[in-house]
Amino acid sequence: MNRLTGMILVVPLFFLVMSFLLYLTMLNDELERLEQFRLTKSINYAVDAAVDEMINTGDLGMDYVDIKKMTVDPRVALDTFISVFLLNYDLYYSDRSIVPQNLGTVYGDDNKNTVLYQYLPVFIVAVYDGFYVFEESKLTTTGGVGLLKQGIEDGVSYPFVATPKLPYTYRDSYNGDLYALNLGLENCIKLSNGSMTKVDLPFTCENGTKVFDVTENKVYINQRVSDEMMYRLDKHFEGGFTSNFYIPYEMTTITSVNAIEGPTVLALLRDVDLTTRYKLSSFAIGGSEVENQRMIAAYNRDGKDRYAYHDLLPAGFTSYVIEMFTTPMEAAEAGYYHDELYMN
C-alpha cells in the first residue's frame, strides 16, 4: 500500500465511522420516540380511567338547581390513575402502606409510591367549584407511622396528599370584591364587604368597565388552574421549573388541548424511566362532560299510551304522567307511542 492510497483511504474510513455514529443516534432517537409514544398512551389511558372512575363512584349529589354541580372523591382518581398507569408498564398496583399500623414504620418503596414520589410531581383534580392539588407535603409526626419517603429521617414524612379544595377565584382589582367561579357557567358567588351573594352571569365589574361573561369565566378558571400547577411545579423542582404551562379556555387547532369544562384530571409525569434509560416526561388532561338529560314523560292521553319530552307538555299536565324515561327508545320499549300532538 503506497502512501497516497493510504491517505485517500482515510476519507472512506471517516465516512464509515460517521455512518456508525449516525446509526446509533438514529436508533437512540427512534427508540426514545417509541418510549415517548408508550408513555403518552399510558398517561392518556390512565387519566381517562381516573376521570371515569371518579365520576362513576358513589353518589355525585347532582341536581337541577346548580347545573353540573357534583361531589367527587379525588382520592379515587389518584388511585385509579396509578393502577392503570402501572398496568401499562406490566407492573401491579402494590401498596405496602395498607399493612396494619402496628407493624412499624412503612417505607414507600412499592410500585404505587414509586410512581407517586418519583414520577408524579403534581396531580390536579378539577371539579365544579374548585380543584384539589396532590403533591408531596412535609409532615412532621411524633412517633406516628406515616408513609415515609426513603432516606428521610424518622418523624418527618412527605405524604402525597391533597390540598383542601381551592376555589376558582377572580378578584376585582377596583374594589377588591372576590368572586368564586364555578363550571356551571351560570352564576358565581360574590364576596363583598363580608357578605356573600349569588350573582348571575354576565355581570359588570371593575367599576363598570368590564363585562364578566361566560368566556371570561372559562378564561379565569383555566388560568387559575394553570397558574396553580405552574406554582406547584416551581416549588417542587429545585431551582424552579423551566418550562411553562398554559391551559387554553377553548380547544383550537393551535393549542389542541382541551380546556377544563367539567370534572377534569390533570397529570404530569416527569423523568419516567421504567423501561428505558431516557428520562421522559408527559402531560395529560382528561375530562368529562355533564349534560342535562331531557326527560321523557309517559302518560295516557285519549285512551292511548304516549310519550313526549317533559318540557314540551303543557302546564298542569304533570299529574297525568305515569312514568319517566331517559330516552325515547326506552319509552317505546315499555309500550308507549310517540305523541305527535306535543312532540311536534
Binding site: 500500500m1 503506497n2 492510497t5 493510504g6 485517500i8 483511504l9 472512506p12 474510513l13 465516512f15 464509515l16 455512518s19 456508525f20 449516525l22 446509526y23 446509533l24 438514529m26 436508533l27 427512534e30 427508540l31 417509541l34 409514544f37 408508550r38 398512551k41 399510558s42 389511558y45 381517562d48 380511567a49 371515569d52 372512575e53 362513576n56 388511585d79 385509579t80 393502577s83 392503570v84 398496568l87 401499562n88 408498564y89 406490566d90 398496583y93 395498607i98 396494619p100
Partner: protein, 150 residues
Amino acid sequence: MSDIVGKVLSIILAFILLCIAPLSMVTLMEELADRRSIMNEVANFVDEIIDSKSLTQDNLADFYIAIASYGPVVDAKVVRYVREINPDPLSAGTTYTSYVVADNMFQWNQGDLVKVTVNQIGVTGPQRFIMGTIGLVLSEFDYTQAGRIR
C-alpha cells in the same frame, strides 16, 4: 499490480459504504416503523374494547391478523382484570379494590381493566442482518397497553 493491499481495502470499504451501510440503515428504519405500527394496532384494539365494552372472536382474529401483517412475528395476549370491591377486614366500614384476572374475556363490565401484551417471538430478519453486519443488538419488541372499560 503494485498496490494490491490498497485496492482490496478500497473495494471492501466501497462495498461496505455503498451496499451494507444504506441497506442496514433502511432495514433498521423498517424494523422500527413496524414496531410503531404494531403499537398503534394495540392502541386501536384497546380503544375498541374500552369504548365498545365488548370483544368477539372476530375482533380478536382481526387484531391477530393486523399485528401479524408487519415484520416481527409477535404473540399477543389479552388479559381481562375484573374489579373486585370487598369490605376491608382490617378496618370496618371501608373497602378495598383489587383486580383479578378472569378467564372469560368476551364479556366486560364497566370498571374492568384490559391489558394487551405483545411480545416478539424469535429474531426478525432485519435484527439478524443488523446484528451480522454492524454488530448492533436490537432488543426484542415487547409492548403492553392497558385501559379501563368505560
